[in-house]
């Protein structure tokens, strides 16, 4: 581990200040960031590992676990009620929250299917979102090439062990996957990310936060240097009460998804009236399956329709040496999850 400074912030403004982020002056041509080598530290369940492996070598760590760990109900004049989740909420607390389990059961299930209880007790929501790929070549600084770690170096995963790697949205530069379970649910739930940075506060749809690799695989997200996630907001989404998360993996626990499916489904009179669908383990970002959603709306809630929608979503999939099975696996899992949701009237029911 490379030596570093450790600082703690109790609020977002202090965190930005400690990280050397200053408000950008109108008309200034350069980003208002003093210390690009600063990193925000949540539970440390991924960043500390990356530092041990010398993949990340921040000069300064700003501990932001002192930021809000509240989960608050939001609401508008029409009585639509969402949730505002503080960046420092621990994964366990989020998964166990009564309203999450009632209104967004897929989120609870996604969280508890990840990592181990000890890790979930430490990990924060913002940290989980910003965790990095577990591609073995990315981690192997000493012995492997990786464009995400060292831009332009080349990618040893494309022709190497790539059973865990992407089948959708990859590029010749990078075939890594995003490892989070929680994020798959957030992508399906139309979540919004609250940010603070050199440009002040702003909001970003969750599905626009993570990037596809393109020719800049070093950039996992659309965040600017110094940007701090302060909260995640879930909108009112009644159909999410009938939602599920299913994770397929190589052992029963403590393994990353080969494929995961987050889905919410609303069926009336045998017809799909609305649906949310996202996939994990298949791409550089949590994969919102808009093609399948589009194909499903207004269709009969039958296995044939689910199958057709899944096939449409995976039509663009590109297998690598070891991961071709994911294309079939993803479709089967989508069909199974939608079938489960269609077969049960659990509106308003707990997780």
């Amino acid at each position: 581990m490379t030596p570093f400074s450790y600082l703690r912030a109790a609020d977002a403004d202090t965190a930005l200040q400690l990280a050397g982020v200053h408000a950008r002056h109108p008309g200034a041509g350069h980003p208002g960031v003093e210390h690009p080598a600063a990193k925000y530290l949540g539970g440390g369940t991924n960043l500390v590992d990356l530092m041990r492996e010398t993949i990340e070598r921040p000069g300064t760590l700003v501990d932001v676990t002192g930021l809000s760990d509240r989960i608050a109900e939001t609401g508008d004049a029409n009585g639509n009620r969402g949730l505002l989740i503080g960046a420092a909420v621990r994964n366990t607390a989020l998964a166990e929250h009564r309203l999450v389990r009632q209104r967004y059961p897929m989120l609870s299930r996604a969280i508890v299917s990840g990592a181990s209880p000890q890790i979930r007790n430490m990990a924060t929501v913002a940290g989980n979102i910003l965790q990095r790929t577990r591609c073995a070549y990315f981690y192997d600084r000493a012995g492997s090439r990786c464009n995400k770690r060292e831009p332009g170096q080349g990618c040893d995963a494309i022709d190497g062990f790539n059973r865990m790697h992407a089948i959708l949205g990859a590029s010749p530069a990078c075939v890594a996957t995003h490892p989070s379970d929680l994020c798959v649910a957030l992508a399906a739930l139309d979540a919004t990310v609250h940010l603070s940075g050199a440009d002040g506060e702003r909001r970003l749809p969750f599905t626009e936060l993570h990037r596809l690799p393109g020719d800049e695989p070093g950039r996992d997200t659309a965040l600017e240097p110094g940007d701090l996630i302060t909260a995640v907001e879930l909108p009112a989404l009644p159909l999410a009460a009938n939602s599920a998360y299913r994770k397929v993996r190589d052992r029963s626990s403590y393994a990353f998804a080969l494929v995961s499916v987050a889905a919410a489904l609303s069926v009336e009179n045998g017809t799909v009236t609305d649906v949310r669908l996202a996939l994990g383990g298949v791409a550089h970002k949590p994969w919102r399956a808009l093609t399948a959603e589009q194909a499903l709306r207004g269709q009969p809630a039958t296995e044939a329709a689910f199958r057709a929608a899944a096939a449409a979503e995976l039509a663009a999939a590109q297998p690598l040496r070891d991961n071709g099975f994911k294309i079939e696996l993803a479709q089967r899992t989508i069909v199974a999850v939608l079938g489960e949701l269609a077969g049960h009237d659990r509106t308003g029911d707990g997780a």
């Binding site: 073995a136 012995g143 190589d250």
Partner: protein, 774 residues
């Protein structure tokens, strides 16, 4: 770790004069017509009781210092830099930034490392302990990807790790062979100088003529050692002597081997290893202890080296991949007419042996013709080594899956097929079995598991998304007892202490041996202590080959004979024992008594007291393992698995498992059950998930963490039922045979056969991951 019969014969053939003496010394119980160990008859002693681990409280309290926890005055910490190419030469080493980094005491490379003799490779000498004989940091050659090329010593571990990351090395790379496909010519594998092959009759002809046949190729991947405690050593030089706090399953071997490497006398190296967090064949002598000792000498400071999990993968060998063809021919009644089991497994030019996967087939079935052969080739990888039941663990996968395939073809129950082919004598060696009760194990196991509920038609039971099936397979592991056993008994008025250079790696050795010694000496359990895990103690006893219980048990038995003789001498003419010979008395009630006249008794305390002796110290040595020359000696198990395979995703979950074992007398049911279960859990990993990913382009292991290298987690392990016949083997000490390794054998095949019964899919390429079942 395993020794084939041929290996034993090689040792023994090379030492005829020693043998002759051994025959004279051998206890008659271990020879034909001899009397069994009297402890076998003893009914109400400590043997057979589920005694809790004597070392348990210490470990639960965290009060047992393991090798990486021993603190020495002035100690510095080591970090290793590993090569990033598989083969070639080191061109340049830039260690300047590392040497200038805070806290750094030494950067050692081949340029400044002290001159060392190559490590004595396992089996090359009686006390050789090294996994390979590659010279350790002696030249600019790189022999595998991950070989240590530099070592940093610093005042803290963090400083050492950081400085290690600052070293820059360039290489001149050479073409390397890193996979079976890139390997050169295959030759017949050897073990202890003998070829790994066997031939009875013309198996190919018999197979060609057989009315029923199975002919299939099974593949198993490389596996890595993943003991809970990664390898570590804390060591110091004092007055030219080396003191090593090690994590090893071979204290005496390690001391001797380190002495050879550093040009010392054997007694100038002291290895202490009282606590070991799992060994499984991997905790022997590897480069880390040697490099730490070399660096400690250069820096003149005590050194702690604690390998990271990645360090273990790079430095310590594991199990090689295998590609095994099994061809079985049978007549219409299901009697085997031919067994062909041959295949390929790579090793390195420096390894002790290729994975000997034909071992379980040698004694398995009464076939008229048999052809067995292991072919091997050399790769540029870290040396392969012993890993729990080398040979049997993966050999039974191929053999026992093939038997299942044959049973289906014949329309026979898989158990019935096996029982029809039970041999009366060893099919290859021709020797009688010392004790073989596999049929009993199958009967007990089948009944308890509910085997009669199995539907022989595959894919006939479904619960929701889950396809459910049952499978069985035979487990087998030989009885071993290696030369070198010795023990010391120190008897005083309060009890006895046993000193023996054996090892407690979590399996219950200290507890079981205390029980055995208590019965042997006629003492209560509390009056017996066992000291172990130190090279200064008597014996050259490897914690391997599941042989410790027999080796130590017999050593204590021999020491006890000495003790009885000495006690009778001390007792003299004023004792109720006056005039009795050693063969006429037995130990009981903390004293000696006449066998057929228990009233003639004198306590140890009385004998010692009258003789004016505070204590009596005797030592005994176990004779050569002649019993294995007279009998075919093997443990067996009937393994039963219920597996559930998800019809949508292909995920396999084992829902029930039962092992029914025939391992002679069970000394301690509690620790034995743990051993059996642990082996089975490791077998579940072998069946379903374990695989070392060696990138063929670079020879580099890519899944070098426990997140990437999958072992079963709690949720993968169902309740595992273990039962045993408890039928004593009349030709072993205590009637017991070792139990440390057998659990992993047969398990992989039982799982695969259950998966087949569940799905109708026969996966022959292990591990059985979900993509193979989609």
């Amino acid at each position: 770790m395993s020794i084939v019969g041929k290996g034993k014969r090689a040792i023994q053939g090379a030492a005829q004069s020693v043998m002759k003496k051994a025959v004279e010394l051998a206890p008659d119980s271990l020879l034909p017509g001899g009397r069994p160990d009297p402890l076998i008859r003893r009914q109400h002693g400590q043997i057979g009781r589920p005694v809790s681990r004597v070392d348990g409280p210490l470990k639960v309290r965290g009060a047992a210092p393991f090798a990486a926890e021993v603190a020495l005055e002035g100690m510095v910490y080591a970090a290793l830099a590993h090569s990033t190419i598989a083969k070639g030469r080191i061109l340049t080493i830039d260690a300047g930034r590392a040497e200038a980094a805070p806290g750094v005491v030494l950067v050692m490379t081949h340029r400044n490392a002290p001159r060392l003799a190559p490590p004595p490779r396992f089996l090359s000498a009686a006390k050789a302990a090294a996994g390979d004989d590659v010279p350790v940091m002696q030249d600019d050659r790189v022999r595998w990807n991950g070989e240590p090329v530099a070592l940093v010593l610093a005042e803290t571990q963090e400083q050492a790790d950081h400085a290690r990351s600052l070293i820059r090395i360039t290489y001149a790379e050479e073409p390397a062979a890193t996979s079976l496909a890139t390997a050169g010519a295959h030759e017949v594998g050897t073990f202890m100088g003998e070829p790994l092959s066997a031939k009875i009759g013309d198996a190919e002809a018999a197979f060609a003529a057989a009315p029923h046949k199975v002919d299939a190729v099974y593949r198993t991947p490389p596996h890595n050692h993943n003991a809970l405690e990664p390898h570590a050593a804390t060591l110091v030089w004092r007055d030219g002597a080396l003191f090593v706090h090690d994590a090893t399953q071979a204290v005496a071997h390690t001391a001797w081997s380190l002495a050879r490497i550093f040009g010392l006398e054997e007694d100038q190296v002291h290895v202490s290893s009282p606590y070991v967090g799992g060994g499984f064949g991997g905790k022997t002598l590897w480069q880390h202890q040697i490099l730490a000792a070399a660096a400690a000498r250069l820096a003149d400071r005590p050194v702690r080296i604690a390998l990271s999990r990645e360090g273990v993968y790079r430095v310590v060998g594991g199990r090689s991949p295998t590609e095994q063809r099994v061809a079985l021919g049978a007549d219409a009644d299901g009697r085997l007419t031919a067994i062909i089991h041959r295949g390929v497994t790579p090793k390195t030019p420096h390894s002790a042996m290729p994975e000997p996967f034909i071992l379980p087939t040698q004694s398995a079935y009464a076939a008229k013709t048999i052809a067995l052969e292991v072919r091997t080739c050399d790769l540029d990888l870290v040396a392969n080594t012993f890993m729990r039941a080398p040979g049997e663990a993966v050999g039974t996968v191929a053999l026992e899956c093939a038997m299942d395939e044959l049973a289906e073809q014949l329309g026979l129950d898989p158990i019935e097929l096996r029982l029809r082919n039970e041999p009366e004598t060893d099919p290859v060696s021709g020797r009688p079995f010392s004790s073989r009760n596999l049929a009993v194990a199958y009967r007990l196991g089948a009944q308890r598991f509910g085997w009669d509920r199995r539907n022989p038609v595959p894919r006939s039971r479904r619960e929701g998304e889950w396809l459910v099936g049952m499978g069985c397979a035979t487990a087998t592991y030989p009885y071993h007892r290696m030369p070198g056993g010795a023990a010391r008994i120190t008897l005083d008025a309060g009890g006895a202490r046993i000193d023996v250079a054996a090892h407690e790696m979590g399996m219950g050795t200290a507890t079981a041996q205390a029980q055995i010694a208590a019965d042997r000496l006629g003492l209560p359990l509390e009056a017996v202590t066992v000291r172990y895990g130190d090279s200064s103690l008597p014996g050259v006893i490897l914690a391997g080959g599941s042989q410790q219980t027999a080796s130590v048990g017999l050593s204590v038995m021999m020491a006890h004979r000495e003790l009885v003789g000495e006690l009778l001498k001390l007792a003299g003419n004023d004792s109720p024992l006056a005039g009795l010979g050693a063969e006429e008395v037995e130990s009981a009630d903390a004293g000696l008594r006449k066998l057929d006249d228990p009233g003639r008794f004198e306590s140890y305390a009385s004998i010692l007291g009258r003789a004016g002796r505070g204590e009596l110290v005797v030592e005994g040595s176990a004779p050569m393992p002649l019993e294995t020359m007279h009998w075919s000696m093997h443990s067996h198990g009937a393994m039963f698995c219920e597996a559930r395979v998800n019809a949508v995703t292909g995920e396999t979950r084992v829902s029930r498992f039962l092992g029914s074992f025939d391992c002679g007398r069970i000394v301690n049911p509690k620790t034995a059950a743990s051993q059996f279960r642990g082996g089975i859990i490791m077998g579940l990993g072998l069946a379903l998930m374990e695989e070392t990913q060696v990138d063929g382009r670079t020879g580099r292991i890519m899944n070098r963490t426990l997140a990437d290298y999958h072992l079963p987690v709690h949720l993968d392990v169902p309740e595992i039922d273990v039962i045993w016949t408890d039928i004593p083997d009349p030709h072993t000490p205590m009637g017991a045979r070792g139990i440390g390794e057998i659990g992993i054998t047969g398990t992989g095949a039982a799982v695969a056969n259950a998966v087949y019964n569940a799905t109708g899919r026969r996966v022959r390429d292990f591990p059985i991951t979900l993509d193979k079942l989609l």
